[in-house]
Amino acid sequence: MDIIAAQLVNGVSYGMLLFVITCGLSLVFGILGVLNLAHGSLYMIGAYVAYTLTTQRFENFWLALIIAPLIVAVLSLIIELILLRPTYHLGHLSQVLLTFGLAYVIHDVTSIIWGSDVLSIPLPPFLSETLHFFHQEFPAYRLFVIVAGVVLASCLWFVQEKTRWGAIIRAGLSDKEMISALGVNIKLVFTVVFLVGGYLAGLGGVIASPILGLYPSMEFQTLILALVVLVVGGLGSIAGTFVASLVVGIVETFGRFLVPELSLFLVFALMAVILISKPNGLLGKKVMKH
């Protein structure tokens, strides 16, 4: 019994890790309609910047947790202003391709700056401890990730449901013209949303990389994982992303536990099954065409 409970905790913590990685992507896609394929790259930059900060500058994980995402946010602001804003007229598909090209560029830029060695981010002492329950042991950092995921989800929920900005964003989800009618500068909304998405990607990088590590091509691994979670949850739904993160995390963890031979197979099989039975993902909005 203990082992099941332990695996459940593992699953939840892995799920929250996935949520932390994916929520930025989900936010941007939900509001801008642009699938940001450079999301993994922003995640990677967040992780690398945090690495530099923790190992070479301040030697403080918390400071890196605050600063690194801000740097990524500034970077994504620049990307939005230079690359995306002038190209909104080209349509969504073109913008998706743009972000893909950008991912290629960032791939080499980071390998020039940070090299191709395997790196890792050292944790503050009390987070690298091991805790005991269910007669099992858990790294404290895993619990930190769970807390971070829940806090992040609550913040996003609060902003979306309870604030004026949230109202504007929800309006944007259903009707772009309506936002303009409200007298809000839609371009500004898009810029801010992309910036926040970048911030979340960077934050995901800092939080996840102590577990996932830093290595060349990590951004594509992360991107694929995030896309899977995104699509399982349903496009344009933060709540869906949250649920999907948990489902994927728990199913994958138990899959590895029960049928380890199928580890590689499982996550994609899960995605296929969900998409076939629920073509819009778990909580995705049904696309009405008329």
């Binding site: 699938l35 690359l83 190209t87 080209l90 073109s94 391709l97 743009l98 893909f100 090209g101 950008l102 991912a103 290629y104 560029v105 960032i106 791939h107 080499d108 830029v109 390998s111 020039i112 594509f220 694929i224 896309l227 899977v228 699509v231 496009l235 031979e261 199928l262 590689l264 197979f265 994609f268 099989a269 995605m271 296929a272 998409l275 076939i276 073509p279 819009n280 993902g281 065409k289």
Partner: protein
């Protein structure tokens, strides 16, 4: 039309002549480009003509490659036999996967195709006893055409060229046919096509199978050319790079994917000898294309052509009649 035919004949003559003038390295490179061009053309049926963006097309390439390799290794290296088996295997896989995928649209279609191809990848990767696992299958016997041993790269090149020409002509006919126009119609507006009485799901399904079967051809040729197959053939990065070939070359045109394949292979082979940052170069080129040349290399060529003709018209008196004459020849 006539001019097109003429250009085609010239291109084929040039391709036939290549082994007489270029070294073995370029010959092999060209053979590889032709194979990947077939692969890109097959994906183009979906992406360019039917409007279904797939990120799992490597599944059919890989199935074709493995079917051909296994058959050659275990039973008979007869080129036509392995080719046929690959087409059948890939088409069968497409028939099954397509059943689930064609109901989905847009991004969901993309992710579903990705899911299926990754499942096939994990199967290939895991079934070490059949597929050789991560090392793939190597040391395949060289393909035979009847009693002729195709291990000579020149013979193999001609076989590949022959297949390329066939595929190009067949696909060229299909996309211009009424059937092809139905696919284009689906790309433009599926709802309208339904209102016109077209069973669009069925057409998408057929397009998926055509694309899969031709993808299988390219896979089989690849394993014949290289003498090995590896799980990379099925991995999503393969799907990604063929998608880039189609998009950079120009989706929805016949020559575009061919140019795209050549462009990427050359870039990857030649440029990477000089610099390690060739991914960045591809990325930058990709961005420039999306912003300035949404129709890909083909669009670029067309624009250039227009410019040239324009200049001709301005600079030469009576040039217009000249152009017309040629077009009518």
């Amino acid at each position: 039309m006539n001019k097109q035919l003429f250009m085609g004949v010239v291109a084929i003559i040039l391709l036939i002549a290549v082994p007489f003038f270029f070294s073995l390295f370029y010959l092999n490179l060209l053979a590889e480009i032709l194979i990947l061009a077939i692969f890109a053309l097959s994906l183009n049926v979906l992406v360019g003509y039917t409007g279904l963006v797939s990120l799992g097309h490597a599944a059919f390439f890989g199935i074709g490659a493995y079917a051909s390799a296994l058959l050659a290794k275990e039973w008979s290296p007869q080129f036509l036999l392995t080719l046929l088996a690959s087409i059948l295997a890939a088409a069968a896989a497409a028939a099954i996967i397509g059943l689930f995928c064609v109901k989905a649209n847009g991004f969901y279609f993309l992710m579903l195709t990705l899911a299926f191809s990754q499942m096939i990848y994990s199967f290939v990767h895991q079934s070490t006893t059949i597929t050789g696992g991560s090392n793939g299958l190597s040391g395949l016997p060289s393909p035979m055409l009847g009693p002729v041993d195709l291990s000579n790269p020149v013979f193999l090149y001609y076989s590949i060229l022959f297949m390329f020409v066939i595929v190009y002509i067949v696909l060229g006919l299909i996309v211009k046919s009424p059937f092809g126009h139905v696919l284009i119609g689906i790309r433009e507006n599926e709802m309208r096509m339904k209102a016109m009485g077209y069973n669009t799901a069925l057409y998408k399904y057929i397009a998926f199978m055509i694309a899969g079967a031709i993808g299988g051809i390219s896979g089989a040729l690849y394993s014949s050319l290289n003498g090995f197959v590896s799980p990379n053939d099925v991995y999503w990065t393969m799907s990604g790079s063929v998608l880039i070939m189609v998009l950079i070359g120009g989706a929805g045109t016949m020559i575009g994917p061919v140019l795209g394949a050549a462009f990427i292979v050359v870039l990857e082979t030649i440029v990477s000898s000089y610099t390690t940052v060739w991914t960045m170069i591809i990325g930058i080129i990709f961005i420039l294309f999306v912003v300035f040349m949404p129709q890909g290399l083909v669009g670029f060529a067309r624009m250039f052509q227009k410019l040239a003709i324009h200049r001709l018209l301005v600079s030469q008196k009576g040039a217009k009649s000249l152009v017309n004459n040629e077009a009518n020849q």
